[in-house]
Structures are given as structure tokens and as C-alpha cells.
């Protein structure tokens, strides 16, 4: 079977790199966790990987705004490399802080388009950082390769700035891939089902190719059955809901 190389990017304040690497390893990938300086100094090259992951954390303390300083660095120091990586068919996954970084660096909603609609992640409506589990529904029409074959998921969020904000054009043109729902799968705007007040209950976004995807919830925190908050009330399953995101990425990269 073809080897799939995954690069999990870390920088000052990244903190979900290890469990993200674990998730990809479980899914059969070969994972390197790399400090951003090694890419900037050309000690490693993005083109050697099929998947780039920007994991969760508090890059540079989320100073100025969540993900802002790392976004600035990516854009200015690695912008060309990332565009080339995308043109070559690479996959990018951003989780939580990774989503904030990708939105603020212009990697989403569309890295190719100068005049893409505005997209940012703002402070939660509650004004608080919150860690809680949320029900998610996958947009059936989405081209997202990471969510293929998935209808719904139960995953934790843990963030203070996860509110998806855009404008009317964005609400029409941005590829929403994932929505917050209530327990029975209804998309409704209520807190805490929608934990941050995201517009249209959007929890995850991808680009037009479906290869670039970012979400606020943490799929890497629901790989094993015992991570489910109600597992002591349920019949055992082999994997947690988040695992398929990583399997899909590896499968897609392998067959490509």
C-alpha cells in the first residue's frame, strides 16, 4: 500500500499535536510532527507530504486574536509553499486553532481566490472559553473529502473564539461542511447546542475542492470508544466518532 506522509505542524503554543499524530497513525499514516521553523529554514519541505495538519492549541498564546500571529507567520513565511502544496493536490486539515489560523491566513474559504468572501472566528457569544461535547451534522452536498460517508458525529469543542462570522455573500458561497445540531440532529441556533453562536450553526468549512477542511470541534479527541462521555452507559464500539475523519484523509491521499 502506498505510504501516506502526514505533517503535523507545531509552533509556539501548539498543544494538540501528539493526539492528532496518534489519530493519523491509527489511521495508517506515517506522521512527522514538525516545528514551523524547520519549514521556514527549509530543513523540511511541504512537498514531501500529502497531508498538512494545523492542530489545536494556543499558537503564540492567541495574542492579538486567536491564531493571528501564526496566521501572519504562515502567510508571510510559507505562503508560496502552501499554495504550491495545494496546487499539487495536498490535503490540509485545521482543527480548532488550526481553523482560526487558516481563516486568518486566507487559506480558507479559498486560498486561490483573492476576493474570497470574508471569514473569521470571533469570540464566543457567551464570552467564555468552553469545553463541551456537541452534536454535529455533515453537509450532504459538501465536496469535503474528510467527511465522506459520515452523517453525524459527537465531538468535543474547547475554545473561546469559535464563532464563525462572515457576510451574506459568505453565507451563500462558503462551503459549510459541518453544522452544530441538537441531540436529534436538528439544526437549531440554540446555545449550548451551538456553543459559540456561529452563523448558520457552521462548525466546519472546506474549500471548493474539498481537500482543504477546518473545523472547531476536535475529532482527534474522539478516537477511542472510552473518550465518549457516555461510554459507561453504552454498548462498546471499536472507534470513536472522530476517527473516520483521519481514515478518510489517509484513504483519499493513498488512492490519489
Amino acid at each position: 500500500m502506498a505510504k501516506v506522509n502526514v505533517l503535523v505542524l507545531r509552533g509556539p503554543g501548539t498543544n494538540c499535536d501528539q493526539e492528532t499524530a496518534f489519530a493519523f497513525q491509527q489511521a495508517g499514516a506515517v506522521v512527522s510532527v514538525c516545528h514551523i521553523n524547520t519549514l521556514i529554514r527549509h530543513e523540511r519541505r511541504l512537498v514531501d507530504y500529502q497531508v498538512l495538519v494545523i492542530p489545536g492549541g494556543f499558537s503564540y498564546g492567541d495574542d492579538i486574536g486567536a491564531g493571528k500571529v501564526l496566521a501572519n507567520e504562515l502567510k508571510l513565511k510559507l505562503g508560496e509553499d502552501i499554495r504550491l502544496f495545494v496546487d499539487n493536490g495536498g490535503l490540509i486539515l485545521g482543527i480548532c486553532n488550526g481553523f482560526q489560523v487558516m481563516a486568518k491566513a486566507g487559506i480558507l474559504p479559498d486560498i486561490r481566490q483573492q476576493t474570497a468572501p470574508p471569514l473569521t472566528l470571533g469570540t464566543n457569544d457567551s464570552g467564555r472559553f468552553e469545553c463541551r461535547w456537541v452534536n454535529l451534522k455533515v453537509e450532504k452536498k459538501s465536496p469535503c473529502v474528510f467527511t465522506q460517508g459520515v452523517e453525524s458525529m459527537y465531538l468535543p469543542v474547547a475554545h473561546g473564539e469559535g464563532k464563525v462570522i462572515t457576510d451574506m455573500r459568505g453565507l451563500r458561497d462558503i462551503n459549510a461542511a459541518l453544522y452544530y445540531t441538537d441531540e436529534s440532529g436538528n439544526v437549531q441556533a440554540g446555545y449550548p447546542d451551538n456553543p459559540n453562536g456561529s452563523m448558520n450553526n457552521i462548525a466546519g468549512v472546506c474549500d471548493a475542492t474539498g481537500r482543504i477542511f477546518a473545523l472547531m470541534p476536535h475529532p482527534e479527541r474522539h478516537i477511542r470508544f472510552q473518550q465518549h462521555p457516555h461510554w459507561t452507559r453504552k454498548k462498546a464500539k471499536e472507534h470513536g466518532d472522530g476517527f473516520i475523519i483521519f481514515q478518510n484523509a489517509v484513504k483519499f491521499a493513498r488512492t490519489k
Binding site: 507545531r10 509556539p12 503554543g13 501548539t14 498543544n15 494538540c16 501528539q18 493526539e19 496518534f22 491509527q26 516545528h35 521553523n37 524547520t38 489545536g56 492549541g57 494556543f58 503564540y60 498564546g61 492567541d62 495574542d63 492579538i64 493571528k68 500571529v69 501572519n72 507567520e73 508571510l76 513565511k77 486568518k104 470574508p118 471569514l119 473569521t120 470571533g122 469570540t123 464566543n124 457569544d125 457567551s126 464570552g127 467564555r128 472559553f129 468552553e130 469545553c131 463541551r132 461535547w133 468535543p156 474547547a158 462570522i165 462572515t166 457576510d167 476536535h218 482527534e220 479527541r221 478516537i223 477511542r224 472510552q226 473518550q227 462521555p229 457516555h230 459507561t232 452507559r233 462498546a236
Partner: protein, 951 residues
């Protein structure tokens, strides 16, 4: 200089501002209708307009949500719009992490001529507020003069640091007058006994001391660092206790001599074996006095400090979990009655919570466990316990070592004037001047610096580049280097220490408690590799000296020797203190109230500050990061029930787990500290057992927070508690592996002394072989049977129920450790066999609260019969059976088909079936006479429990 202001676009709501409106209302000011927060950045550079514009547009402001203004006087514009303005910034010298990030980002943009950045928050306040109210909300809410000031726009935001000219400060000793000696004694905080010993030492070496030598002794000999009281000699009602720590707690650990205890009482944390490859270490610390005066900074540096303990244990561990326990005054304490110099408990609570969460969340360490207690005796002296569990390869569990010639390397943050005298500050009593005098002892943490350091340290550890490590905590480099070089000697060149800014004296460099620093011993052949590793990730690392074979501590500054102290004197010279200790059993009135409405009583106990849901706090901690959680702090059908202990899976592809729990109950200590300590231990163990753990590989930590050891009754209480630790440790076969004490937790105002209640926190860590056997506390299915394990007695002294009736009582819960141990071992075996569906321990609020919590966590009702409860002694009242806090009890849910097997597994243990899971969502209680004494809807009970802290 340029000023850039960034604010949310007008049409967007400001969540931070909305929160402040609520906080302002809590202060009793109801006229504020709107607050908006503006970020102000001062940039020290002359920038071309397009450069300033690009910094504002591309970096500082979010294009979608924010507007910016450059070099604009916005005051006039905001005043016209009806806002009052308060602008707040950190004082010079206080760490502001954002400054460094902004500098870095501007450099990334290719703009390299910015000398400095300063940051302020500008609060726009709308409403009919008087100047007096504005002052009140500024000082009580928006800023703390200890670390912040209100910005005066006219002043230069970039004042020059005062320069320091080296001057060698000798303290006259040998030919000094008594007055001069007394002055020196007070200045450095020595006791008369200590001063005499020091005087003898310098007479022997034949010279006057240099100030830095006395500073070093003061730090090393502080109560905080050396635990003089615990190691003291006590005259306890005629019996001599020589070194309390060694004669009680450590004695029990030595006697138990568990082979899986890898490092106990000798390193920054205690270490136990996890599996054949890995070890776990655990440490809990306090940061009380700094948190009293600056809750956010005090608590953030508290957690930051304890995280460095595992990092500095053995050859370094990865922090994998935090636990935090807080004690505050009551959140509804009347504003008007607040003593001068004391922050309101609600503000302390919110500040401490935010400080701990911001630091731990940024470090990426889950915080799934903790507790919060309220008592007005904590008003002026809150307690902030922070604990961290670390994971390390087993061969790295032992303390490292070094050879003469190895280099002393400081890594992590730079050194500034922050936290000077923290060690000595934490060892003195607070008073209403603490706010003014202690400013330099308090600091703000910078978690990203610590995270960056951690990332590199683990790589350096695995490459074997250093041979010993410790953290810079209280006493700074003085304590860290002093301790490391104890056996060999060390020479440090203070010029080599990287500084945040100029102007520090040599003493300040040496004793600064600037955060996020660690000290390594590095063989010379590894130094190039090590420095490169740190440089690769932009983390500070500097060689500041070397270890020697002189057996002395030598410091150089500007080519002069400023300190030359014998290590033996430094570490062994502190005289043992002598204390008197006494303890008398106090007598309290027995209450004589009658309970008419049991449902109302239950709701009142559920809704008390101590018992109520802490979800508001728990959710603001990231308790899922690292992906290790197995049993979470909030469990049950709706993720909101109070779990007992927490279980984590440190190695993601293994099924082994670690269980962490804590026990604390200060009210029992008012009656008898011995049974308080015994109860805290029993409680911590109960929680471990309740979730499916066992006693086989279980270790505990102690944390004593007490009043002044100058008072014999305070010391007597300490001895009784320590004796209980010894006795229970042996009886349960559970060793103590580490501990800490914090004394002088008293507060004086207007001549009145308030001592905190004797507070002992017991933290437990246990290894679980298979996390898939874990049990949660929420009821699972209709028709299942409910058992109570253990004996219920008339043990309401110090209970939550009596407290609700403003009584203390005298019948403090005791522990029959032999019976309890048998019950725990049998229950562990039953759980191991998969016979237990849910289990909850009975603690505050007794069986009534336990069953109620199990019911509403599972969304199922329960019927119980009090007459079935096994009872002992005079206990004839329904309310007493329901709310007694007898130790060693569990409520267990069993499937009917497992009943016989369960009874067999529990053979010989006192227990009884007391009821079942019912069809309705109601808690139904049948009294001792068989009559129905309560039928309470579980959603109402849950509401009573959730309401108080739904902030």
C-alpha cells in the same frame, strides 16, 4: 511613537463588555448599560504611514469584525457618544505576554525598527455613573494597582529603565551594634536564633557578609523552602516530637516500603511506577498569598510553578494533568462589610479561576479534577492549591546528578525584577498593607514561554543532553542552583544571566522569581548540541556557571566575588526551631432544630456553596486536551453529573489508566483535626474506589495550610492531623509520596486576627489496570437495585447539614480503617468482575445528596428506604440518616441478575439493599417508620444544585 486602537465594529455585540456589565452589577452599581473594550497598542518607532497602516490592517485588526484608528484622539469622539473612559495598562516590569507576540509578528512583516510595544485596554462605559462609582469599578474590577495603572495619555508610554551602577553592599556584622544587627535581622526576615547562627558563621570566616549572601540564606531558610515548622522540635503537652514530618508521614511511607514507589520526598514531585516502561509523578503546591493580592497573576504563576515541578522531577516528566482546589470566602459576602485591603471573594474567585484556566489551557494540560470550598475565614487569605501529574520513562524517575565541571545552564524565560521575595512573602502573615508592600512579589505568568521550554526540554531529555534538572521556583536561581550544587559546589557568573531589561542589582538577578525558568546540569561535551536545540525553537538558554568541587556557593559579578558561602552551612545550618504545642477537644452546642420539610432540607444542602455544581468553572478548563480523558469531571446522561474521581489514559494506545481524586473537609477540623485528616484520606480513597480503582498501587500527597505556628494550639492541631496521616497511611497500606505545607495563613485587620480553618488537602493517584472497567456515578437503568455499603452513625458534627442550620456539633465522623479497607477491597473486586453499574461515594450531604446526584445525573428516579440503612449508635431521625456524613460509605447500583454474585463478592462487609431505580423521575424516600417522607422531582433537585454557580 504611534498609537493604534482596535475595536469591534459598532454593529457587533461585545461579549467581553457584556460580561463586565454583569460584574459591575455585582458591585452594586446598576446604572451601567453598556461596556465596550478597545485594544490600544503603543508602538515605539517612527513608521511611514503605509507601514503603520499595514500593521493595523493586516495584523492588529480583524478585517471582518474590527475597526482600527491610527494616531487618532478618540477620547473626544467617545465622550461625545456618551461613554466614560478608563484605560488600563500593566506597570513597567510586569510581564505582558502580548507585547512579545506583537513584536514578533511585526518583525515577521519585515518591519524591524520597532523598539518596543506597550499595550492597554480602554474601557468605554455607558451609563449614568458618578465619578465615585467610576473609581470604585476601576479599582475593584478593571485594574489592580499592584500590577496595573490607569493610563495618562500625556505621559510617555516607554519610560527609560533606571540604570544600575554596581556597588558592593557589605552588611556590617562583626563590629555592629545591637541596633544594627536587629535592623539586618528584620530586613532579611531572620529569627533571633537564626541571626546568632549566621553571626557565628561570619565570625568564623572572619568577615562581614555581603547582602546577597544574607539574601541567599533568607531564601534558602524560608519556611516556604525549608519547612522549618514541620522539621521543628515540639513540646506537645509534655511529649517531645522531633521533626514532625519524619516522625509521622515519612515514617509510614518508609514502613510500607512499597517497591512501586520510585522516588519519595526527595525530589520536586513524588514518583510511582505506572507500567513496565513508564512512571507517574505528582505534586500539589499552594500559591495563597500572591493570589490574595493579585488573584489572576497569583493563580496563573501558581499553576505555572507546579507544572514545572514534574518537569523538574527525575530527569523531567511531561505534564499530563492538572488538579486545582480553591478555598474562598462566600461569594455573596456583603460588599459593605469587606475589610480594608481585601478583595471581594467573588473577584478573587473569578480572577483565580481565569488565571489557572488561561495558563493550563495554553499549556495544553487537561484540568479534569478539583474542588472549591467556601468559608468566610478564607476572606483575606484564600487558598489556591494547584497540582500536576507528569509522565516519564521509568529509568528517568530518579533525581539526576552532575560532576564538577558540568555547566550550569538556565533555560526558558529571561530574568526580570518580578517576584522578588516571593519565598519570604509567602511565609509571612498578610495584613491590610499587603497590597502596598508586596507589589514586587506578584507577577503574571507567560504560559507560551513555558510551553516552548517544555517542548525543547523533552527533546533534550530524550537525547540525554543534560544529567540533572530542577525548576526555578520560590527563591529563583538562589534556591535552584543552591540545591543542585549542595553536594559539590557551584560557581555562577551573574553577568551571564539573560535579563528582560537593564537595571537589576546582582542580588535581584540572583533571587528574582521570574517565571518559566529551569536550571540544567550539562556536561561540557553536550553544550553545543543543547544550545542549538533551544535556539532552533527560539527558546532562551544560557550557560551561567559551572559545578565545582569546592563545596561552596560562589557568585561573581563584574569580576568581583559577591558571594562565597559553604554549602554545608547554607543547607544544614538552619537551626531547628522549638515550639510548644497543645490541643484540647473543643465543645460546641448540639443543635436542637426540627426538620419539617425534608425536600426543602435536601434542596438547601444541594444548593449550598460547597455542594453545588461547579460546572461553570469546569467547562472553562480544557479537560479533554491530550485526548486522555476516560472518566470526565462531568458525567451522566447530560454530561452534568458530579463524577467522583477522574480517570485518564496517559498512553493513548494502552488500556491502563491513572485515577486522580482529592479529599478535603475543613469543618471536621474545627472539632478534631485528627478525624479531619482521617476523613480526608478516606474520602480521597473512596473516590478512587468508586470509579473502579483499587488500593494496590495508590499513593497520596498531603498539603497542609495552617495558621501561625507561633500559637501552640495551631501547632497542636497540626500534630494531630499529621498523626492521623501516619495512622491511616499504615492502616490502608497507602504511602504518602510528596507533600507541602503553607503556614501563617492568617489575616489581620483592625487589630483582629482571622486564621483560616485548619485545611488539609489529600490528593490521591492510583494506577488502574484496565480503564474499560471504569464505573461512573450516574444511575443507568430502571429496576436496578441500590445498595449502601458501610455503617451510618450519628456523625453530623461539622456536616454540611448542620452548617445549613448554622451549627457545628461535636460528633465528627471517624474512620474505622480496618472495616473500611475491607469494604473497599471487596468493592474493587466486585467492580473488577463487572458487577457494578454505578457507584457514588457519600461525602458532603451524606446519602441524601449522593442518591440525589446519582438520580439526576442519570435522568432516572430512585426509591430508598431509610429503615434498611445499617445504623450504629443513637441515630433515630430521618434527616440525620439522610444527611449524616459517616465515612467509608458508597451507594452502588446493581442489576438484579447480578445481585447474588454481588452479595457474594461483598461477603462480610456491612451493607444493605436500600432501594431501587424507579419508573418516575422522582426521588422517593421512605422514613424509618416506613412512611413516605419525600417525593422530590429530580429536575427540581438538579435545579437547586445547579442554580448557585450558574454565573
Amino acid at each position: 511613537m504611534h498609537k493604534i486602537e482596535v475595536r469591534l465594529k459598532l454593529h457587533l455585540p461585545d461579549p467581553a463588555g457584556r460580561g463586565l456589565v454583569k460584574d459591575i452589577q455585582d458591585l452594586g452599581i446598576n446604572s451601567v448599560s453598556d461596556v465596550r473594550v478597545v485594544d490600544v497598542y503603543w508602538i515605539d518607532a517612527y513608521l511611514a504611514p503605509e507601514k503603520a497602516e499595514s500593521i493595523a490592517r493586516e495584523l492588529l485588526a480583524d478585517a471582518v469584525t474590527q475597526d482600527y484608528q491610527i494616531d487618532t484622539n478618540t477620547t473626544a469622539q467617545d465622550t461625545t457618544r456618551g461613554y466614560k473612559i478608563v484605560e488600563v495598562a500593566y506597570n513597567a516590569g510586569v510581564t505582558d505576554p502580548v507585547r512579545d507576540s506583537v513584536m514578533k509578528a511585526i518583525r515577521d512583516m519585515g518591519i524591524i525598527n520597532v523598539r518596543a510595544v506597550a499595550i492597554a485596554k480602554r474601557y468605554l462605559i455607558r451609563g449614568d455613573v458618578t465619578q465615585e462609582e467610576l473609581d470604585k469599578l476601576s479599582t475593584r474590577l478593571l485594574m489592580n494597582p499592584i500590577v496595573q495603572h490607569v493610563v495618562d495619555e500625556e505621559l510617555n508610554q516607554f519610560p527609560e529603565n533606571p540604570q544600575y551602577v554596581f556597588e558592593y553592599v557589605k552588611v556590617p556584622f562583626l563590629n555592629a551594634s545591637l541596633d544594627e544587627l536587629e535592623k539586618a535581622r528584620k530586613q532579611f526576615g531572620f529569627s533571633t536564633q537564626e541571626l546568632e547562627v549566621i553571626l557565628d558563621y561570619f565570625r568564623k570566616v572572619g568577615r562581614d557578609p555581603i547582602d546577597i549572601e544574607l539574601e541567599t540564606l533568607a531564601q534558602t531558610w524560608s519556611e516556604h523552602c525549608v519547612h522549618k515548622t514541620f522539621k521543628g522540635k515540639f513540646n506537645y503537652d509534655g511529649t517531645v516530637v522531633d521533626n514532625l514530618l519524619k516522625s509521622t508521614i515519612i515514617k509510614a511511607t518508609n514502613e510500607l516500603n512499597k517497591p512501586w514507589c520510585l522516588s519519595v520526598f526527595e525530589d520536586n514531585a513524588g514518583v510511582i511506577e505506572f507500567d513496565s516502561h513508564w512512571a507517574l509523578c505528582f505534586k500539589v503546591e499552594t500559591h495563597n498569598h500572591p493570589s490574595a493580592v493579585e488573584p489572576y497573576g497569583g493563580a496563573s504563576t501558581g499553576i505555572g510553578g507546579v507544572i514545572r515541578d514534574p518537569m523538574g522531577t527525575g530527569l523531567g516528566a511531561k505534564p499530563i494533568m492538572n488538579t486545582d482546589v480553591f478555598c474562598f470566602g462566600l461569594p455573596d459576602f456583603p460588599n459593605a462589610d469587606l475589610p480594608r485591603g481585601v478583595l471581594h471573594p467573588r473577584r478573587i474567585f473569578k480572577g483565580v479561576r481565569a488565571g489557572v484556566a488561561d495558563y493550563a489551557n495554553r499549556m495544553g494540560i487537561p484540568t479534569p479534577n478539583g474542588a472549591i470550598l467556601f468559608d468566610n475565614r478564607y476572606l483575606g487569605n484564600p487558598l489556591v492549591f494547584c497540582g500536576t501529574v507528569g509522565l516519564m520513562p521509568k529509568p528517568m524517575a530518579k533525581k539526576g546528578s552532575h560532576k564538577p565541571g558540568d555547566l550550569v545552564v538556565v533555560v526558558g524565560g529571561k530574568t526580570g525584577r518580578d517576584g522578588i521575595h516571593g519565598a519570604t512573602f509567602s511565609s509571612v502573615q498578610l495584613d491590610d498593607k499587603s497590597h502596598e508592600v508586596s507589589y514586587s512579589a506578584v507577577q503574571i505568568g507567560n504560559p507560551i514561554v513555558e510551553k516552548k521550554m517544555l517542548d525543547v526540554l523533552l527533546q533534550a531529555r530524550d537525547l540525554g543532553l543534560y544529567t540533572q534538572i530542577t525548576d526555578c521556583g520560590a527563591g529563583g536561581l538562589s534556591s535552584a542552583v543552591g540545591e543542585m550544587g549542595e553536594e559539590t559546589g557551584a560557581r555562577v557568573n551573574l553577568d551571564k544571566v539573560p535579563l528582560k531589561y537593564a537595571g537589576l542589582t546582582y542580588s535581584e538577578i540572583w533571587i528574582s522569581e521570574a517565571q518559566e525558568r529551569m536550571v540544567l546540569a550539562v556536561p561540557p561535551e553536550n553544550i553545543a548540541h543543547l544550545l542549538k536545540l533551544f535556539a532552533n525553537e527560539d527558546v532562551e538558554a544560557a550557560v551561567i556557571g559551572e559545578f565545582t568541587d569546592t563545596k561552596s556557593l560562589q557568585l561573581e559579578y563584574k569580576n568581583a566575588m559577591v558571594c562565597d558561602l559553604e554549602m554545608n552551612f547554607l543547607h544544614k545550618g538552619v537551626p531547628q526551631i522549638q515550639m510548644d504545642a497543645v490541643w484540647h477537644q473543643p465543645r460546641f452546642d448540639e443543635p436542637d432544630f426540627i426538620a419539617v420539610d425534608l425536600e426543602a432540607e435536601l434542596k438547601s444542602v444541594l444548593g449550598s456553596w460547597n455542594t453545588c455544581s461547579k460546572e461553570w468553572v469546569i467547562r472553562q478548563y480544557d479537560h479533554e486536551v491530550q485526548g486522555s480523558s476516560v472518566l470526565k469531571p462531568l458525567v451522566g446522561a447530560n454530561n452534568d453529573g458530579p463524577g467522583d474521581a477522574v480517570i485518564i489514559r496517559p498512553i493513548l494506545n494502552s488500556d491502563m489508566g491513572a485515577i486522580i481524586a482529592n479529599g478535603i473537609n475543613t469543618r471536621y477540623g474545627d472539632i478534631d483535626p485528627y478525624w479531619m485528616a482521617a476523613s480526608a484520606i478516606d474520602e480521597a480513597l473512596r473516590q478512587v474506589i468508586a470509579v473502579g480503582g483499587n488500593l494496590k498501587k495508590l499513593a497520596v500527597l498531603d498539603n497542609f495550610c495552617w495558621g501561625s505556628p507561633k500559637r501552640p494550639e495551631v501547632v497542636g492541631a497540626l500534630i494531630r492531623a499529621a498523626e492521623a496521616c501516619h495512622d491511616m497511611s499504615l492502616a490502608y497500606g497507602v504511602p504518602f509520596i510528596s507533600g507541602k505545607d503553607s503556614l501563617n495563613n492568617e489575616f489581620e485587620y483592625e487589630g483582629k486576627l482571622i486564621s483560616i480553618p485548619h485545611t488539609l488537602l489529600i490528593s490521591a493517584i492510583a494506577v488502574m489496570d484496565d480503564v474499560r472497567k471504569a464505573v461512573s456515578m450516574d444511575l443507568k437503568s430502571l429496576g436496578n437495585l441500590l445498595y449502601i455499603i458501610g455503617m451510618t452513625g450519628n456523625d453530623l458534627g461539622g456536616s454540611e447539614y448542620f452548617a445549613a442550620h448554622r451549627a457545628i456539633g461535636n460528633n465528627v465522623p471517624r474512620v474505622d480503617a480496618q472495616q473500611s479497607r475491607k469494604a473497599m477491597e471487596s468493592l474493587s473486586a466486585a467492580t473488577e468482575k463487572g458487577l457494578v453499574r454505578s457507584c457514588h461515594d457519600c461525602s458532603e450531604g451524606g446519602l441524601g445528596v449522593a442518591v440525589a446526584e446519582m438520580a439526576f445525573a442519570g435522568g432516572l428516579g430512585a426509591t430508598i428506604y431509610l429503615k434498611n440503612v445499617p445504623r450504629t449508635g443513637p441515630i433515630y431521625r430521618n434527616d440525620y440518616v439522610l444527611f449524616s456524613e459517616s465515612n467509608s460509605r458508597f451507594i452502588v447500583e446493581i442489576e438484579p441478575e447480578h445481585d447474588a454474585q454481588f452479595r457474594k463478592a461483598m461477603g462480610g462487609v456491612v451493607m444493605a439493599q436500600i432501594g431501587h431505580v424507579n419508573q418516575e423521575e422522582v426521588l422517593e424516600v421512605h422514613g424509618l417508620m416506613g412512611d413516605v417522607v419525600m417525593r422530590a422531582p429530580i429536575h427540581e433537585l438538579k435545579e437547586a444544585w445547579q442554580k448557585p454557580l450558574r454565573w
